[in-house]
């Protein structure tokens, strides 16, 4: 009993010394998980492919990366719309029936919607924006929506880059991505 009390007292002293010293190597006795203290501050973010790349002006690209998605719509919709009309001055609506304001309003809040109920795809002819798979030709989808007009038939040479698949086949099981080029 007495011995235990002494032990507790000793431990208390040790803890207070360690805390006082703010020691970082107080778990040096044997293999342990590393420590993960500290604050981590945002530098890059991404949801849908190519949004910052295509729609954000050069001077704002860093700022866009540190604007939380819930604030992006208000901050960036108007400049996205200008950018869209600069890329395609003849833009009226796209294959989703969206006019310039509606389309850029949807894009400016850069989050990737993911269905938990079935097919996940950027666009597969039927489902729109229910996720993004590795094989989705996301660039063609975006080019078509920017340049393709209401029927997806306008500006034929701009509405597809004619690269339709990856250079290596994907795996059907985890981790799904192809092995690296060596």
């Amino acid at each position: 009993m007495k011995f235990n009390n002494m032990k507790i007292a000793a431990i208390a002293v040790l803890i207070s010394l360690t805390a006082y010293n703010c020691s970082n190597d107080d778990d040096s006795n044997g293999p342990k998980d590393p420590e993960f203290s500290g604050n981590y501050v945002q530098e890059d973010q991404m949801a849908r492919p190519a949004i910052n790349t295509v729609f954000v002006a050069m001077a704002q690209k860093d700022a866009f990366n540190v604007t939380v998605p819930s604030k992006q719509g208000a901050a960036y919709q108007a400049s996205f719309e200008s950018r869209l009309l600069a890329l395609n001055p003849g833009y009226t609506t796209n294959a989703l029936g969206m006019d310039a304001a509606t389309f850029t309003g949807a894009l400016a809040t850069d989050v990737l919607t993911v269905s938990l109920d079935g097919t996940t795809t950027f666009f597969d002819g039927t489902n729109v924006l229910t996720g993004r798979t590795l094989a989705d030709d996301v660039i063609d989808v975006e080019l078509l929506l920017i340049f393709g007009g209401p029927m997806g038939a306008d500006n034929g040479t701009l509405s597809s880059d004619n690269v339709d698949a990856n250079d290596k086949p994907f795996l059907s099981s985890f981790p799904y991505l192809a092995t690296p080029h060596m």
């Binding site: 989050v111 798979t133 990856n166 250079d167 060596m182």
Partner: protein, 216 residues
């Protein structure tokens, strides 16, 4: 002299624009070429239909030679954000942080706070996996229905960026057919996490995005 300066300015802008054209590869000046530069983000139903797979790739256009020495940055957290109620504010996060050759995973767990600053949710430790070395078979760890991978992979993105740049620069009027995949033959550093849907809302839709955050 003045003219040279102006020309130089134009050249700088052109070069900056030149590199800033891909999925999110090298998307902005502060991150281009850095270990924190996200190249792509994918979210899709897994081979097991009860699961969702999140793929985050960083570090663009690694050649096979670059790949031999490519490393995750121990001061960079990769944080997958999940909004379960449609307000574009994260309700859950999955955090991945590399230390000593392993990638440590936390979550899905509620963040200490939403927004630009994060702390590691150590109470939500999910697992860790040895970072796969170049050329080695993929090391995969599974725990509590989740699967984890970290290491170099082929860049799954495909796009004729060079022709797009030519179009934007006004030196071409359209894409070529067939186009040329600028990312063919290049690798990225990849983090793949597969989680049961029941851990991230169960049914309906979620919004998701990924961030890189640097330890201060």
């Amino acid at each position: 002299m003045k003219k040279t300066k102006i020309l130089l300015g134009v050249a700088v802008i052109t070069v900056a624009g030149f590199f800033a054209l891909a999925a999110d590869h090298m998307d902005a000046p502060a991150v281009t070429g850095g270990t924190n530069d996200i190249t792509d983000f994918y979210a899709f139903q897994g081979q097991d239909n009860n699961n969702i797979v999140f793929v985050t790739n960083v570090q663009a256009l690694l050649s096979p030679t670059d790949t031999q020495s490519a490393m995750f940055d121990e001061n960079t957290m990769i944080e997958i954000n999940i909004d379960t109620n449609g307000d574009a504010v994260e309700d859950l996060v999955i955090q991945a942080i590399p230390k000593d050759g392993k990638m440590y995973f936390f979550g899905p767990v509620a963040p200490a706070q939403a927004g630009l600053m994060s702390t590691v949710r150590t109470s939500g430790m999910a697992s860790s996996v040895a970072i796969t070395k170049p050329g080695a078979n993929a090391t995969i760890v599974t725990n509590a229905g989740m699967s984890f991978f970290a290491g170099p992979r082929d860049d799954p993105f495909f796009f004729d960026v060079d022709q797009y740049k030519a179009i934007i620069a006004g030196t071409a009027t359209g894409f070529e057919n067939p186009g040329t995949d600028t990312y063919a033959g290049t690798n990225v550093m990849s983090v793949v996490v597969e989680v049961p849907k029941s851990m991230i809302g169960g049914t309906g839709s979620i919004n998701s995005w990924v961030e890189t955050k640097r330890k201060q």
